[in-house]
């Protein structure tokens, strides 16, 4: 076996599908967030792999770095929302929080 | 804002002051006593474990009666010249180191020693027996004692029992009650080198009744 671009893309596809499944099937908001993180990581692996194999430049890595930063910001805000949700509704299950007001 | 910087300054300066003090202590000679190797010299009137000098005691029972916690057990049999002491024991489980017994002893036999470190594994061993069954019974009457070689006449005759305060120089030399001979052999020999009679050895195996 010679490790090439398709291998990385396959791993990334697997991670993306798993993340998608988690986002769709998890009820826990934090679980959904974990799914999102998996998907972002899948995208990142693609970015870096393409930058290494196809682009032959640093741009893919730059994008990956920005994705990581934005993921961190997203996680901070999302988890703050989860905590606020927990405080106001007493649950973190995304499907039970449906009303627009308390 | 000024307060903010004032706080920072105060924190830094006070931390530095504290650090200065502790670093000085590193050079200072430690005050710790290396306890089992060195021992503290007790003040003269320190109330350590009570010791009874069996060569003087005439089992008058005053100490036992005065004891507020009834920790002194004295048993004797016979009357007058045949009165023999069979047991003299002090229960240190109860003793409160009040010194009432020593202050009122008319023979000056019972004293507070400077011993303080008799740790034991069993409460029963804290009942110190001052009589050795090997020595047999001790006569209480003075004449009988002298006959039997139990009474050691002192050079200086004491007509009256002295209060323990004045007696303390003597008490310094007074032997420690050798609790368990194997527990602190060198401790006892240190505190009371010129120690006395064999009768002092308590018998632990008797235990407390």
């Amino acid at each position: 076996m010679n490790v090439g671009l398709p291998h990385f893309l396959t791993i990334s596809a697997v991670l993306f599908s798993l993340g998608l499944f988690a986002v769709m099937s998890r009820r826990n908001a934090v679980g959904i967030l974990m799914g999102v993180e998996l998907m972002l990581n899948a995208a990142n692996i693609n970015f870096v792999a393409f930058s290494r194999y196809v682009e032959h430049s640093i741009n893919g890595q730059m994008m990956a770095a920005f994705v990581i930063v934005l993921a961190a910001a997203e996680a901070a805000v999302a988890l703050a929302i989860v905590l606020a949700m927990y405080r106001n509704f007493g649950t973190v299950h995304a499907d039970t929080v449906q009303s627009l007001k308390r | 804002m000024a307060q903010y910087f004032a706080d920072i300054y105060e924190t830094v300066s006070s931390v530095l002051k504290g650090m200065q003090i502790t670093i000085k202590h590193i050079y200072r000679k430690p005050v710790t006593l290396q306890y089992p190797d060195e021992r503290q010299v007790m003040p003269e009137r320190y109330r350590g474990f009570v010791h009874n000098d069996m060569t003087k005691c005439d089992s008058c029972n005053i100490c036992a009666k005065l004891c507020p916690v009834d920790c002194i057990y004295i048993e004797a049999e016979g009357k007058a010249k045949e009165r023999m002491m069979t047991r003299y024991a002090i229960d240190y489980n109860k003793c409160i180191w009040c010194s009432l017994c020593t202050e009122n002893c008319h023979t000056g036999s019972i004293t507070m020693s400077h011993d303080y470190d008799h740790s034991v594994y069993d409460r029963k061993t804290l009942v110190y027996e001052f009589m050795d069954p090997a020595d047999g019974l001790i006569p209480c009457h003075r004449a009988t004692r002298v006959d039997m070689g139990w009474w050691v006449e002192e050079k200086k005759e004491k007509p009256k029992p002295k209060p323990p305060v004045e007696e303390k120089p003597a008490a310094e030399a007074a032997p420690a009650p050798e609790a368990t001979p194997e527990a602190a052999p060198e401790a006892a020999s240190e505190t009371a080198p010129e120690v006395a009679p064999e009768t002092d050895k308590p018998s632990d195996d008797k235990g407390a009744e």
């Binding site: 791993i11 769709m24 974990m34 692996i45 961190a72 703050a80 | -």
Partner: protein
């Protein structure tokens, strides 16, 4: 050959815990499994010669996002073993959709003739730093603004009516940390 072995190990380290993340009934276990997925992904980046990204991944994801996730999980008191009520009606569509997406992706990956060649790894830090200050100066500044907004937003969201909350500071901790990592 050794390289292939390392790749396989890293791939397993990434994918197997990811499965655990998705299917574990215990959300805390899922969180800790995410740690291994992230480590595996960092390993893959390092394998690809993107050492800066790998270490940023460690710093930001493992040291930041994951701690936040675990904090949130621990503070939102879910009873042991999240109850999976509702049964199949949620799983079947999700599984079908995810499988479909994977099938499409896999089809694309296998169908396309990738003619990329591996570029030998080289030092990337200096290049990334130079790029951040030249070509990517606008995204860089933009991202720092986003981080600032996220930090303030998280702090306000989490803030109780009157009293300050320590969690808010943790949230803030993360975002500033990430900002600093980048700068």
């Amino acid at each position: 050959m050794t390289g292939d072995l390392i790749f396989i190990l890293l791939a397993l380290l990434t994918v197997v815990p990811a499965i655990w993340v998705v299917f574990s009934p215990n959300i805390v276990h899922a969180g800790f499994a995410l740690l291994f997925t992230l480590l595996g992904a960092a390993g893959l980046y390092a394998y690809l010669g993107a050492d800066f990204i790998a270490i940023t991944q460690l710093m930001v994801y493992v040291g930041g996002v994951l701690v936040l996730v675990l904090f949130t999980v621990m503070m939102t008191r879910i009873p042991h073993g999240e109850k999976r009520k509702g049964g199949l009606d949620r799983y079947v569509p999700a599984a079908v959709f995810a499988a479909l997406v994977f099938a499409v992706l896999y089809k694309v990956i296998t169908a396309v003739e990738w003619n990329g060649t591996f570029m030998a790894p080289e030092a990337t830090v200096a290049e990334i730093g130079a790029n951040l200050m030249t070509n990517y100066i606008f995204p860089f500044e933009y991202v720092s603004l986003v981080l600032l907004a996220a930090m303030i937003g998280a702090a306000i969201l989490i803030r109780e009516s009157k009293t300050r909350d320590d969690h808010a500071e943790d949230e803030a901790a993360e975002t500033t940390e990430n900002a600093e990592v980048q700068s």
